[in-house]
Amino acid sequence: MKASILAYGGRRYLWLALLVTAGIAGIYLVHDPQEPPNGGTVLGYTLGAVATALVLWLTAFGIRKRRYHSTQGTVQGWLSAHVYLGLALPLIVLLHAGFQLGPNVHTLAFVLLLLVVASGIVGVWFYANYPARMSHNRGGANRTELLDQLDDIDERSRRAANSLGEDFRDAIASGIARTQLGGTAWSRLTGRDESQVVLPANGGSRVAANAGQEALLDWLADRQARSADAHEGAAIGELSALLRNKRRLLKTLAGDMQLEARLAIWLFAHVPLTAALLAALVVHIVTVFLYW
């Protein structure tokens, strides 16, 4: 990711962004309006138009990446340009405004732009680092394999429980059925294990939180300690070993889920902030000419 986006095409868009920035900064320094530099000078209007066009083009990336049949450049190239030109945008806007900022809707648009760029930087950082971290977390396996392993363990523990009696069969079955990772975005982001288990208690049953299969393991240990039958004790021990494997596996899967959720979540800032920016941009342009 890091190599393919940031170093795309020999960093040509980095150079383009630097060139554009340097050129505009140079013109700004040479430009000598009769009034203080602001958005209303010739250069101000020009830079405003450039910045607006750039914002629209950067936003169009959301459309381009969904056009799978488009022949207008590769998505990789677009993304690389999106990143570098997006980083150049705040400076262009500052020069457009002649560094005149204040508590008004115009600066609101600039602040929103900064937030969009900041969330974009976070996104780039996530995409540059998290895939490797996810691979490391999964130990080379892919997620399907991990889920398959989980299913294997579930199946084997189910079989092992079958031979131990009804209590065990029900407990293990409920533990499997109620194994729960994620669900809401928040639990995915925190990587919380929300598993539960129904355990027999005093002739009835109780539902216990079973994060990391702890409740089930405790219950098994208790039953193992009270078991008089050596054979049964050994079988419970095997079952416990399976569940400990499951606990390790769930931990890995939770980490995987968490990292994946983070890869997705920054867009929940980037995209709505972009929408707010577009709205603020329209408001900025309208109000500037409303009170011309």
Partner: protein
């Protein structure tokens, strides 16, 4: 090889259903790939998991995979199959059964209900689509809606009418059209600062000149005397508001140079494209006396300053050098050292000087007394005929008065006897003769002639002296905008520009030429011209935050301030010693700071404080500290202790 595959499904109630399928093939392939004879929907199965071939009259299962295939619980690369053998393919179980008649090989295949589907997966293997129940699209609409509502829709209500606007502006927390302000208005427009419609009369139209004329109807631009070159330009073409810092009159060189570079067409004005290098010398307006038929009229004459160095025609005789002599000038109380300010007092506001007046500034030394025995009696100033009249009346009264001790009277009159007509005439003639003698002394030797041009007309026996009328030019540069107060600094002394100590005659025109201006303005003007021509060149003393204005964290604030200085072409100066950073050697600077750390008020006490001129001039100049001119200015300085400052310091 004819194979029969029996698909077994278990219903919800435990009922077993099966469906048979006969396949005629050389080898029965099993795998996840769709081209396999027996397609297994199980991720744990390989694409080509295994194949069953007929071999030596029996049947064998073969796989190319290293992991082999599990037959009867054992993983093998190749195995001969017999009825009852069980083959595990992922979660699926294939059992070899006895083939019915006409079939070579038979398998039962129990379909697992969730083969290949992980019950955990649906909870989170799909991408995150919502956050707290909001998808990205919904959040986007929400964010954009909030922005439009607060930044536009509510403030736009002010456009409905003045009543709504007034109400909206008075409601706290509700955004009104002040959020559209791109920058503050100039303080001279403070009265209409919140009423946008006062200038922006119609939406989406530029500010019309009529809006300016509503208040500025008597302005000389509005009165029709605007320069003809303006043409279609509007007031707001030059007088732009809402910039930071607020600035109504641009001092940009281009405003002059654009038209004056070659000398404006149709005028005899010389070219002026650049204040420093291409600017004609000053022209000075002089009052010149023109005498016709004995009466003097004053006319204003415009001359080049450099050619009019000795052209002052005030008709006054005055020696500046004598008056400002370091050893003093002889006055009634002995030698007295005079300073410029003793005669030249600034007007209120400090821009210009008050006129010098005889009765205020000169009479202290230049007494107009004439009788040493009666020094309180003086002749009037500014009225030559009156002088003679006063003298005649004085001496007549002395001769004719009722004073018995007066010897002259005793000589003229006997007691009880009135003066005769002849006696009176004699006395009058004597008084007049005495007055003329004293007047001659006053006019020609002792008083008038010191300062005035006095001529004697022998033919006029009644009043033989003529004093040339005097007029001091009030404004030498009537078109210039110059303030003495702004130049009241340590570097710029009076003598530095006016060279009074070098001038012995009143015809000297003691006015500084352009070079005097350039001496100081050149360097800063150059530096500023490169960036922001016409802008203030020095940092105008740290501005403390206004109430409600965010206090920027120190480091960010310092960086921002430095950026602002660079942008405006201000020379950075130290906020602690208030000296130009470049002007003070660093060791000295450290010593200065040690000597007196500049305190900064605590955040709670910070309020907006007007920049005092004194502090500004302190910022300009190296040199010894002096007391601020006003106690109020001193009180304005923050007085709390603490060395922290949010302004860049070049220590």
């Amino acid at each position: 090889m004819k194979c029969l595959v029996r698909f077994i499904t278990r219903g919800a109630g435990g009922a077993v259903e099966h469906a048979d399928k006969v396949i005629d093939t050389d080898s029965l392939t099993i795998g996840r790939a769709t081209d396999q004879t027996l397609h297994v929907r199980d991720r744990r199965a390989r694409l080509q998991h295994a194949r069953i071939e007929s071999r030596d009259g029996g049947h064998a299962i073969v796989t190319g995979a290293l992991a082999g295939v599990t037959v009867n619980g054992r993983s093998q690369r190749e195995a001969t199959l017999a009825p009852g053998d069980e083959i595990e393919v992922g979660a699926n179980l294939l059992r070899v059964i006895e083939p019915p008649a006409g079939i070579d090989f038979a398998l039962s295949f129990e379909l697992a209900d969730d083969a290949g589907e992980h019950h955990l997966a649906p909870a989170w293997s799909a991408p995150v689509r919502t956050l707290a129940g909001f998808g990205k699209r919904r959040l986007s609409w929400l964010a954009a809606g909030v922005v439009v509502l607060l930044a536009f829709a509510i403030p736009a209500l002010t456009l409905l009418g003045p009543g709504v606007a007034k109400t909206l502006r008075s409601v706290p927390l509700l955004p009104d059209d002040s959020v559209w302000l791109a920058g503050d208005v100039h303080r001279t427009h403070a009265s209409v600062a919140t009423e946008c419609e006062a200038c922006h009369a119609r939406p989406f139209r530029r500010v019309p000149d009529a809006a300016c004329g509503a208040c500025h109807e008597s302005h000389r631009h509005a009165a029709g005397s605007a320069p003809p070159v303006l043409g279609e330009m509007r007031c707001a073409s030059c007088h732009l508001e809402h910039n930071e810092p607020p600035q109504l009159i641009s001092e940009h060189q281009g405003l002059c140079g654009d038209c004056h570079a070659d000398g404006p067409a149709g005028t005899d004005l010389p070219p002026a494209s650049d204040f420093l290098d291409d600017h004609p010398p000053f022209r000075v307006s002089l009052s010149v006396p023109v005498t016709t038929a004995g009466t003097t009229e004053w006319q204003t004459e415009r001359r080049l300053l450099e050619q009019a160095r000795d052209a002052e025609r005030s008709n006054l005789r005055f020696d500046h050098a004598l008056h400002v002599d370091e050893d003093g000038v002889i006055g009634p109380d002995g030698r007295q050292v005079l300073a410029c300010q003793d005669c030249h007092r600034p007007e209120p506001g400090g821009a210009r000087m008050q006129p010098v007046r005889m009765d205020e500034h000169c009479s202290g030394c230049h007494e107009l007394s004439f009788d040493p025995q009666d020094p309180s009696r003086t002749v009037p100033h500014g009225d030559p005929e009156g002088v003679l009249q006063v003298l005649i009346e004085y001496y007549s009264a002395r001769l004719l008065g009722d004073d018995a001790t007066n010897g002259a009277q005793q000589r003229l009159r006997r007691p009880g006897q009135a003066l005769t007509r002849a006696d009176r005439d004699r006395v009058a003639a004597e008084a007049r003769a005495q007055a003329l003698t004293v007047a001659a002394d006053l006019f020609e030797r002792r008083a008038c002639v010191n300062c005035h041009e006095v001529t004697k007309v022998q033919t006029d026996a009644a009043m033989p002296w003529r004093v040339q009328p005097v007029r001091l030019t009030e404004r030498f540069f009537p078109h210039a905008r110059f303030s003495h107060a702004a130049h009241d600094t340590d570097v710029a002394s009076c003598d530095g520009c006016h060279a009074a100590s070098q001038s012995g005659v009143a015809t000297d025109l003691l006015l500084p030429g352009m070079d005097s201006c350039r001496d100081c303005h050149r360097q800063r003007h150059r530096a500023a011209q490169r960036r922001r021509p016409g802008r203030q060149h020095l940092h105008p003393v740290p501005r403390l935050p206004r109430p409600g204005q965010a206090v920027i964290p120190r480091r960010v604030g310092a960086a921002w301030s430095a950026l602002t200085c660079a942008r405006r072409g201000w020379q950075p100066y130290c906020c602690r010693c208030l000296r130009l950073a470049a002007a003070v050697p660093r060791p000295l600077h450290r010593a200065l700071i040690r000597r007196r750390r500049r305190p900064v008020a605590p955040a709670s006490a910070r309020t907006h404080q007007p920049v005092s001129r004194w502090r500004m001039s302190r910022a300009l100049l190296p040199g010894p500290r002096r007391k601020p001119p006003r106690a109020a200015a001193r009180q304005r300085l923050p007085s709390s202790t603490g060395s922290a400052t949010s302004w860049p310091c070049f220590a």
